[in-house]
Amino acid sequence: MIIQNQHVLNMASKGQRIDNRGQDEYREIDIERNPVEKAEGSAKVTLGKTIVIAGIKMGIGKPFSDRPDEGVLMVNAEFSPIASPNFEIGPPGDDAVELARVVDRGIRESHAIDLRKLCIEKDEKVWMVNVDIHIINHSGNLIDASAMASIAALWEVRLPELKGNEINYDKKTSKRLPMTAKPVPVTFVKMEGNLFMDPGLEEEEVMEARLTVTTRDNGNIVSLQKGGAKPFTQDEIENAFALAEKKTKELRKLLN
């Protein structure tokens, strides 16, 4: 293990990676739409060996009292123990909570869903959008895989029929969610002072710091999240902004 870690770091110090990728190169990405028919929308993202499924279930509920005319978005992530020997059963750990909240902020801050259009009756009744992220295999960079799966699933949603207060889940209509944007995350790790995109599991184990830059369609940044136990310099962060701006155009194409 320690030898493996040292090897990753040695290569990183020269700007190299154990799977021969470039510093700004992602692993192969595959997006499967609607693998779960029971969900109102779903997507399975395979990013190298990492596999994530996001499923959307719609519900009906009361709006928050400070947003009486808006639908409710809820993002939940579970690190299912099937996906890694290190995941445990129980309430979401720190990493799962951070993952869900980073994905949530990307969707929310880019106004990817026009939540006002999900109001059915002000103060009383709005659509609830439940985004559930399920990790099937953890081989690194869960944030990017989960964010892409979630946004892809949201764009696939077909609303079920609404009868009074009850949802008839067996009847899907042709109506979609009021989607307006495709926020895309780009995650970097810093190793030996160099930045690398789309970290694999072995890289995450030795990384010094992590930065996720989420941008919306016009290139504006809508969310940032630094992780890891070491700092960044201001230069490194500004450099990441520039690299993310480029890469995001490439990744966004996969979502079309």
Partner: protein, 264 residues
Amino acid sequence: MKRKDKRKPGDLRSVEIKAGVIEQADGSAMVKMGRTIAVAAVYGPREMHPRRMRKSERAFLKTTYRMAPFSTTDRCRPGRSRRSQEISMVTREALEPAIFLEEFPKTGIYLFIEIIQADAGTRTAGINAASVALADAGIPMRDLVASVAAGKIGKDYFLDLEYKEEEETAADVPVAYMPRTKEITLLQMDGDLSVKDMKGVLQTAIKGCEIMYEKQKQALRERWGPNAADVKKELKTKTAKPPSGTLRGTPSGAQASTKTEKKR
């Protein structure tokens, strides 16, 4: 009597089984039975936690059955329910008889089953996936465990009920079975049947298990057999696990029966 999806009473739904679907796991499998999708992963044998669950004379098969929140018609909340707790337990008991647990005293074998889509028969799909995953992990087994439910609609015994049939059947009888030793490792029933019908439904389910068994073996051959394309690909990128344990589980393996005799 015809079935809504035009199957004959003794037909399974379309079945798809794939071994080795989760890279991180020591063994894994995905099973589709109609629209129901189950994924199983095995980690271990490894140190058993918590310590007080350690068994001095055998491995403990820690089994967890769960449903993804989006797997059901109404979103099902994450976390343990009484239903999932019971299914975890009967699943463990359905599989234990098949495993040479006594070969790994004090350890834990961790089995996780996730239902990705639920459309009737999730516990049977889970057991089928788990059984293949255990073999994929190289855990030595007496036999594979195959599982199918049966019921009775009108006068007919129907195999492998789908969701809409579950509402019409006079009973729902999930069964797990080890075809080589002809032993029943899971039997539950809800409904209302005369003893005669109950026997008929049980017999029907057992026949279904025998069909399922062949499909499980086929999936393991595809993964580990001499022509397995995947294995070759795998071998290049990671140290392949010796599939010896798996072989013991197949009825063709002489090693399996020897083992059984010695151990019993």
